[in-house]
């Protein structure tokens, strides 16, 4: 039986999620044994051009050209997995979406903006799902590499890959961490989707919401926590915009 063909693509991002694939270290050799990595610009020389069983894509869409490339990948890939906050929610890339594209160009390049070819088709940054249909998402900034391996396994076996639908607080409590709210630190654990193994709070650093909302965030519970500690809901909302600033057009 032919090995499944996997391609890895980078849109606009820091490339840190694809790096987590390299960070599988010895396990990457098993992966290379189980699947055929046919396209990966940053890791390989070959370009294969299509018919992927799985396309793994990191990054946001921030130009017309990228949007077209993404649609082409979709046409030729059976399964598309969005990895990382940039692909999932638009992530950090959308932090400046309250400023128009033209204004951003002018802030960054001044009068030179007009003459630079690569800036002509810039659009407001958006997640992959704003352009194409996604079959599975591995959230986070960066992704939890174990979760990606799990997703690839499930999808290759034809099973659905499901993300946990409970907040980071659950995982944090399981680890018996102290609560950062006790130090008057606003933590996004109560409203953010788990699956990161409470990476940040376990290091005494507040959750920054990089994995996005849980399906039905119990905002009242979050409000109760804030009230209990005398903290401001605006602080929490503002903090959450760090990775969750993207607003669909028309909303």
């Amino acid at each position: 039986m032919a090995k499944p063909k996997v391609a890895i693509f980078s849109m606009a991002c820091c490339a840190g999620c694809a790096l987590q694939i390299v960070n599988l270290e010895e396990k990457i050799l098993d992966l290379v044994g189980a699947v055929d990595v046919v396209e990966w610009q940053e890791g390989l020389s070959e370009k294969s051009g299509g018919n992927y069983d799985i396309a793994i894509i990191e990054g946001s869409v921030i130009t017309e050209k990228e949007a077209e490339e993404l649609k082409e990948i979709r046409k030729t890939a059976k399964i598309v997995i969005a990895i990382g906050a940039c692909a999932h929610t638009g992530g950090i890339n959308c932090l400046g979406n309250h400023i128009s594209v033209e204004e951003k160009k002018s802030i960054v390049y001044g009068n030179d903006a007009e003459k630079i070819d690569g800036l002509k088709d810039a659009i407001q940054p958006r997640p992959l799902s704003a352009v194409i249909k996604i079959n599975a998402t591995v959230p986070g900034c960066p992704i939890n590499k174990n979760e990606l391996v799990e997703a690839v396994k499930c999808l290759l076996l034809g099973k659905a890959f499901r993300l946990p639908n409970y907040p980071v607080c659950f995982e944090c409590a399981l680890k018996e961490n102290g609560c950062l709210f006790d130090l008057n630190i606003v933590c996004l654990g109560p409203i953010t989707r788990a699956g990161c193994e409470a990476a940040c709070p376990s290091m005494n650093k507040e959750c920054n919401g990089c994995r996005g909302w849980i399906d039905d965030p119990n905002q009242n519970a979050a409000k109760d926590i804030l009230e209990k500690y005398g903290l401001n809901i605006e602080d929490m909302k503002n903090k959450f915009t760090l990775f969750n600033s993207y607003i669909k057009e028309g909303e």
């Binding site: 980078s10 606009a12 991002c13 820091c14 490339a15 840190g16 999620c17 694809a18 790096l19 987590q20 390299v22 960070n23 270290e25 010895e26 990457i28 050799l29 290379v32 990595v37 610009q41 940053e42 890791g43 390989l44 020389s45 070959e46 370009k47 921030i62 130009t63 050209k65 990228e66 992530g91 950090i92 890339n93 932090l95 400046g96 400023i99 951003k104 160009k105 802030i107 960054v108 390049y109 030179d112 003459k115 630079i116 070819d117 690569g118 800036l119 810039a122 940054p125 900034c141 960066p142 130090l183 630190i185 990476a199 940040c200 290091m203 005494n204 650093k205 920054n208 903090k239 760090l242």
Partner: protein, 445 residues
């Protein structure tokens, strides 16, 4: 006989580099009529992202400029904010930060030299091919890479985008036992490292011989191989004050690139491992100097292809210096601070002002510069990235390299490969270089 008088080479995009870059060459009647190193990568406008954000979020935002040197960005950013607020860090924090920088340098250099450059030297297309053909060597390489990552995670809380390092200190430190274990692992890793050096020694003849003298810019600290502290230093012009970095960088735009380019007193300058080696080799740890001798790298070296060799030498320095740093920390005993005090250090220091943070990351000099308002919100930001500094140097290399290759009677395929190898030697991180922030009307007093 092949005809190398007329050819077009268009590589879009150069593989085994981070991000998107294009080589565009045209040769007519044996003359180079077009030679361009183009950066079409899409701009991400980080300046717009950080504007109005709070001081304690900035390192976490700007580390997302680059996943490969996230620790460097995070640290440069913290230094800039601490500089603006007048926060000083303890000697212990300084040591842990340096360990974190070493871990990233180590990891990134392994990634570049062994995953991305080695296939060229072996005449192979990718690390996957290398993995199939040389499984023992590949195991050594993944083990070393893994150790670099393990060290990043031990100090920073995870391999990419550090968690524990905040303004003024660390939210969590490893235990003495964990540090001692890491010290032992670093010592043990030297066997793997020496195997890598042996391998490279055998392949050294595959590195193209090419010379183009340029200006080499790095941080310099007279007593230490500078990565975390020091002042700007040019091989042509000596020391500069860090506060005048803009006059050294002289950023400018060209139509074919979204990345900004830089130059100082020559047409271009180079940053990175080779620049550091040329400027600071006398402060390398003894083991690194021995490896330099073995791999026949002598300062000053004007062959940019030797940047990868300089990186291998720096790996030895990072391993040895880390072993010493851990020993010092253990001898002094880890000083624990109350979490609230660490968080308070920045909260109680907020003031309007401006700060600069400069560090050496795997690819070279990295500069962060912010202006804050009295609430600690960013008004303006600027960040100058090593890959940007090197883009123009790559351009000038290619302009000298291609006519030389033509004279040597090289085929189109050979010329293309050598040009790609030239780009790869710089270990460019193109996503980084189009992060794009800009300094707007920042007045220095």
């Amino acid at each position: 006989m092949h005809n190398n008088k007329d050819m077009k080479i268009h590589v879009e995009n150069v593989t085994r580099v981070e991000g998107h870059g294009i080589i565009d060459i045209e040769i007519k009647n044996g003359e180079v009529t077009k030679c361009l190193w183009k950066i079409p990568e899409t701009a991400r406008y980080f300046e717009a992202m950080v504007r109005g954000r709070r001081y304690d979020e900035i390192a976490g935002i700007t580390s997302r400029v680059c996943g490969i040197c996230s620790i460097g960005h995070h640290t440069a950013s913290q230094k800039a904010t601490e500089n603006a607020f007048g926060i000083t860090i303890s000697p212990q924090t300084e040591k842990f930060r340096k360990l974190l920088m070493h871990a990233e340098n180590f990891q990134s250099h392994i990634l570049h030299t062994l995953y991305l450059v080695l296939p060229d030297l072996l005449g192979m297309k990718s690390v996957v091919e290398v993995a199939m053909a040389c499984s023992n060597e590949t195991k050594i390489v993944t083990r070393l890479h893994g150790l670099g990552n393990e060290m990043s995670a031990l100090i920073g809380g995870r391999t990419t985008h550090p968690i524990t390092s905040i303004l003024g200190g660390f939210t969590k430190l490893p235990s003495e036992k964990e540090l001692e274990d890491m010290r032992k692992k670093l010592l043990a890793s030297l066997n793997d490292y020496f195997a890598v050096v042996e391998l490279l020694e055998k392949l050294a003849t595959k590195i193209p011989i090419f010379t183009r003298e340029t200006e080499y810019i790095s941080l310099k600290d007279n007593t230490d191989y500078a990565i975390l502290n020091g002042n700007l230093y040019s091989s042509d012009n000596g020391f500069y004050s860090n506060t005048v970095y803009r006059n050294v960088m002289n950023e400018f735009c060209v139509p074919h690139s979204t990345a900004k380019f830089t130059k100082n007193t020559r047409d271009s300058f180079m940053v990175g491992a080779l620049a550091r080696f040329n400027n600071n080799h006398d402060t390398l740890r003894p083991l690194a100097l021995k490896v330099a001798e073995k791999l026949e790298l002598k300062a000053p070296c004007h062959n940019p292809f030797m940047n990868s060799v300089a990186q291998v030498i720096e790996i030895a320095h990072s391993i040895e210096d880390s072993i010493f740093l851990i020993q010092e920390i253990l001898d002094e005993g880890i000083q624990k601070e109350h979490l609230k005090d660490i968080y308070n250090r920045a909260d109680s220091a907020i003031k309007a002002g401006e700060g600069i943070g400069i560090v050496e990351v795997p690819r070279g000099l990295l500069i962060h510069n912010y202006k804050y308002d009295e609430k600690g919100l960013v008004i303006e930001a600027n960040c100058v990235i090593p890959t940007n500094m090197n883009h123009w140097n790559i351009q000038y290399d290619l302009e000298k390299l291609i006519p030389e290759l033509l004279k040597q009677g090289k085929t189109k395929e050979e010329i293309q490969l050598t040009c790609e190898m030239n780009v790869r030697a710089y270990d460019p991180c193109i996503s980084c270089s189009v992060h794009e922030m800009r300094l707007v009307n920042m007045d220095w007093k």
